[in-house]
């Protein structure tokens, strides 16, 4: 086997290279040759091809994502310590605490191998948070699957759930929320998004950069193997003889080792505490290619790496393979020479393998050697940041008008005497049924800081045991709304996550997102994408909270059919005293009144009712009024601070009926409800901007006066009835909590046990 060195590349300019198989276009390959002034070596080609992939370079989305920056004002930026461009966004939440959080996708690997795909998805996002210098504190998992009763969902869902749990539980990170959504469009392409949130003292923020010539580059954590480098195997087949070629059946699947990651976390935090780290970068997608080029281009010099020093798990790996390996549970640190011994000692204490693989140099090149031969010599920015940028064609889908014109008005509405049964049918439908089958597999208690977890509108953790300061997080997206109108749909996703956070008593302060879409080469998908980004950014500007980071996942489709556009939005909120949290279930106080905040209109476009009862998707999504959402949030936060609310639950899919069922079942307490007007609309409409609150009778006047004074519409809709053990809707009849529980909790176990 011959090594493709830079020297070799210079002397063999015409050697054919499999750049197409590696996903590079003709002009991209030409551009690489132009940058280098020669053909790239195998190792360089491996680096460029993976770093210039859609996943790493954001080549189709970049021009649109810029809009987030353009719409973020200085005022919105005030509390933001790090934003788009860093591993994860960082927000100052007061008392000297900084919070970092981010959501990422691991969709495709999770379809191939559900358990490991989901597990390594969690592992990856946790390392992103760690790389900011923070202690990871909790995870969430927004998931999307094909129809609940499809045979393949039976394969995929249990594996993904077990993988999320298997990894997160073993890391000791409480799972405080997420989503489980079923829709036909995800049948061949489930979505596994994973969010992690961490905390640090403001002064401990670590940013990824390699500065200071002479500083050492240390790779620590797991050994590097042949994981996840399926693509690069085309290089191997060129340079390997037949016998070796056989070994090169490279897996595209990575296997996670959460134990190694747990130790890596504790080891890293100890390194941070002892101030032994100048810069740090996690190894995720694109492995060392990404870590070395990103560290080098963010620093003030060049970098030299002795790649043959990387501890390997497999024999006979080529430089291209070592650079491309996506072996999990690895980190790369920049360390002052005088700190190297201390660094190694901490790693030894934790039994973590650590190897000095290079150093920061004067100059501006990233030079990588393999047994003293130069195999990479590139300007690092061209790898990490100066990839191709595409202005993909954009076109509003031809059938968008027809879709919007096909409103739910034509659907037969249920008769009055069918409504009670409909409440039960809806509660038992896969998208509204209890998620307990899933969440029971996740540890929500570990670390002892979980104040709210499933089932709750948002997850909440205590950050400071002395002051009781904490944060709340919610992720949301209704892909059907986004399909009907991507601009409004993205705003609705934001509005819901925002409302969920406020519903638990926290003040929303920042946003992250994971934009899951179909192929960017489809102009209709690009239109959805552009609209969604605009909607989200405009929405954030209206609410005055910044997007601090996110992730884009394209090519989510089965054949030519794209998934529902799914911009998952995560909102972070702050609460000064978690003891003031508002729970979801009623019955905490004797004598509570139920109030509905906000206004109900007849809005059934994209609704769960249209989906469950008629299999219909058409019309327009509910209207969104962000000024109203803001007011609603302020009222909820004030209500929490002044102890006026004993329970609150946000109205979303399934409308008021579903909110009532849930608040009763979670609180194990009955209620009597009196509604006016068209009962079907009252119960099942999905108008945005609404929250059901329970107010202790003694606080009722004070609270409603506040709503009136501030101009927030409210209506008394019922009373809590601790005696009844039933949900009674006046004029319709009652449903016992036992039968509701059976309906709500029975669905997922029946499907997946």
């Amino acid at each position: 086997m011959s090594l493709d060195t830079v020297k070799n590349a210079e002397s063999t300019p015409d050697q054919e290279q499999p750049y197409k198989e590696l996903g590079l276009k003709d002009d991209e390959y030409a551009r690489i040759r132009e940058i280098l002034g020669r053909r790239p070596t195998d190792a360089e080609l491996a680096m460029y091809s993976v770093m210039w992939s859609e996943h790493c370079s954001y080549k189709s989305s970049k021009v649109h994502l810029k809009y987030f920056g353009e719409t973020t004002t200085d005022e919105m930026r005030e509390k933001m310590l790090a934003g788009i461009g860093e591993n994860a966004g960082v927000v100052d939440i007061g008392d000297g605490w900084a919070i970092t959080f981010k959501v990422e996708s691991h969709n495709h690997p999770s379809y191939v191998e559900p358990y490991q795909g989901a597990a390594t998805g969690v592992g990856g996002i946790v390392r992103d948070i760690l790389a900011m210098g923070a202690r990871p504190l909790a995870v969430m998992d927004p998931l999307r699957f094909g129809p609940a009763d499809a045979p393949d969902t039976r394969r995929v869902l249990p594996g993904i759930v077990a993988g999320v749990g298997g990894y997160g539980n073993c890391l000791g990170l409480p799972n405080i929320g997420g989503e489980v959504v079923f829709d036909e469009s995800y049948a061949g392409n489930p979505l596994v998004n994973a969010l992690c949130v961490g905390a640090m003292r403001v002064e401990d923020l670590h940013l990824a950069h390699a500065s200071g010539a002479g500083n050492k580059i240390i790779l620590y954590g797991a050994r590097t193997g042949l994981d996840g480098i399926g693509g690069v195997s085309v290089l191997a087949s060129e340079t390997f003889d037949d016998t070796a070629g056989k070994r090169k059946k490279l897996p595209s699947v990575q296997v996670g080792d959460p134990f190694t990651e747990k130790v890596l976390i504790e080891c890293s935090l100890e390194l941070f505490r002892q101030k032994l780290v100048v810069g740090i970068q996690d190894l995720g997608g694109a492995g060392l290619s990404c870590a070395t080029s990103e560290l080098a281009s963010a620093g003030d010099g060049g970098m030299r790496v002795q790649l043959d020093r990387v501890p390997l798990r497999a024999s006979g790996m080529t430089p291209a393979e070592v650079l491309s390996s996506e072996s999990q549970e690895r980190m790369c640190a920049v360390v002052r020479p005088e700190d190297v011994d201390a660094f190694m000692a901490v790693c030894a204490k934790w039994d973590v393998i650590a190897t000095e693989i290079g150093e920061v140099t004067e100059g501006d090149r990233l030079v990588i050697t393999w047994h003293d031969e130069v195999v990479v010599d590139v300007p690092p920015r061209t790898v990490a940041h100066e990839g191709p940028v595409y202005h993909r064609p954009i076109e509003r889908p031809a059938d968008q008008d027809a879709l919007q014109a096909d409103t739910p008005d034509r659907l037969p509405k249920p008769a009055r005497e069918e409504l009670l049964d409909l409440i039960k049918t809806m509660a038992a439908s896969p998208n509204l049924a209890s998620r307990q089958w899933v969440t029971q597999q996740y540890d929500r208690y570990v670390r002892g800081g979980t104040v709210l977890a499933q089932p709750a509108d948002s997850g909440m953790i205590r950050i400071d045991e002395e002051t009781h300061r904490g944060v709340a997080l919610s992720t949301d997206c209704n892909g059907r709304y986004t399909k009907l109108d991507p601009y409004t749909g993205a705003k609705l996703a934001l509005a819901e996550a925002y409302r969920n956070v406020a519903t638990t008593g926290a003040t929303p302060v920042a946003v992250t997102n994971c934009l899951n879409f179909g192929s960017p080469e489809d102009p209709a998908v690009m239109w959805q994408f552009e609209q969604a980004v605009k909607g989200l950014a405009d929405g954030c500007a209206e609410l005055g909270i910044p997007v601090t980071g996110g992730n884009v996942s394209f090519y989510n489709q089965t054949g030519a059919t794209a998934i529902l556009p799914t911009p998952v939005v995560g909102v972070l909120g702050v609460i000064d005293d978690v003891r003031r949290r508002i729970p979801t279930g009623i019955g905490a106080e004797a004598g509570e009144t139920l109030l509905l905040l906000g206004e109900t209109h007849e809005e059934f476009g994209g609704s769960e009712w249209a989906h469950v009862v008629h299999g219909h998707l058409g019309g327009l999504p509910p209207e969104v009024d962000l000024a109203r959402e803001k007011l609603l949030a302020e009222v909820l936060v004030a209500g929490s601070r002044d102890g006026m609310l004993s329970a609150a639950h946000d109205l979303a899919e399934g409308g008021l009926a579903q909110a009532l069922v849930e608040t009763c079942l979670i609180g194990e307490t009955g209620a009597r409800v009196f509604l006016e007007g068209d009962l079907f609309t009252e119960l099942f409409s999905e108008s945005a901007g609404r929250v059901l609150v329970a107010v202790p009778r003694t606080e009722e006047l004070r609270f409603t006066d506040m709503c009136t004074a501030r101009g927030l519409p409210w209506r008394k809709v019922g009373v809590v009835d601790p005696e009844s053990q039933a949900l009674e809707v006046q004029g319709l009849g009652e449903l016992s909590l036992a039968e509701l529980r059976e309906a709500w909790e029975g669905t997922l176990p029946a499907l997946f046990d």
């Binding site: 000791g172 959460p258 130790v263 969440t439 029971q440 208690y445 002892g448 046990d753």
Partner: protein
Amino acid sequence: MKVGVITFPGTLDDVDAARAVRYAGGEAVSLWHADHDLKGVDAVIVPGGFSYGDYLRCGAIARFAPVMQEVVEAANKGMPVLGICNGFQILCEAHLLPGALIRNHKLHFVCRDQWLKVENNETAWTTRYDKGAEVLVPLKSGEGGYQADDETLKELEGEGRVVFRYVGDNPNGSRNGIAGITSANGRVVGLMPHPEHAIDALTGPTDDGLGMFLSLLDAVVSA
């Protein structure tokens, strides 16, 4: 009162065990798996988590850690020892308690609030409870099914060494619904559920678990 809390690589609930000790008025002393001494503590908690990833068998690798040799020696001399979840598994592997814990009968990890019946309130860790009382604490484990042969089981039941039993449907297939047991002298207790996560209704389902740490305080003070 000083209570040691052991940390192995992969231990997770050590911060929580230490917090519970503090809530009860004790001083938590952190013990590292590679330590060869117990730093003069009056009692030891082996907390939950996934020591060494729980690869091979839960607790199988941790049992051989240097600090465990000290724990076994001290326990044999009567020091109170509490093993929670992974700690219970480790104590079984170390033969401080009989039996073993295997994969939950439905194969899933189970995290839920679990009612337990206090069957024995005479151990070093349970005197604050009434016999027969029911307490609500979190259970969170994937391998919590208690197994022992018939003879051992008869002995445990006969000597009143079952300390906690699951109330309602059996969450993990444990024989006789056993959630926790004690050594012959009542000083070593192991249980799968997590009393240290039920010390404050803000972050747990109840504060029912605090009783175990308060009981220990009594036991150490009166010893």
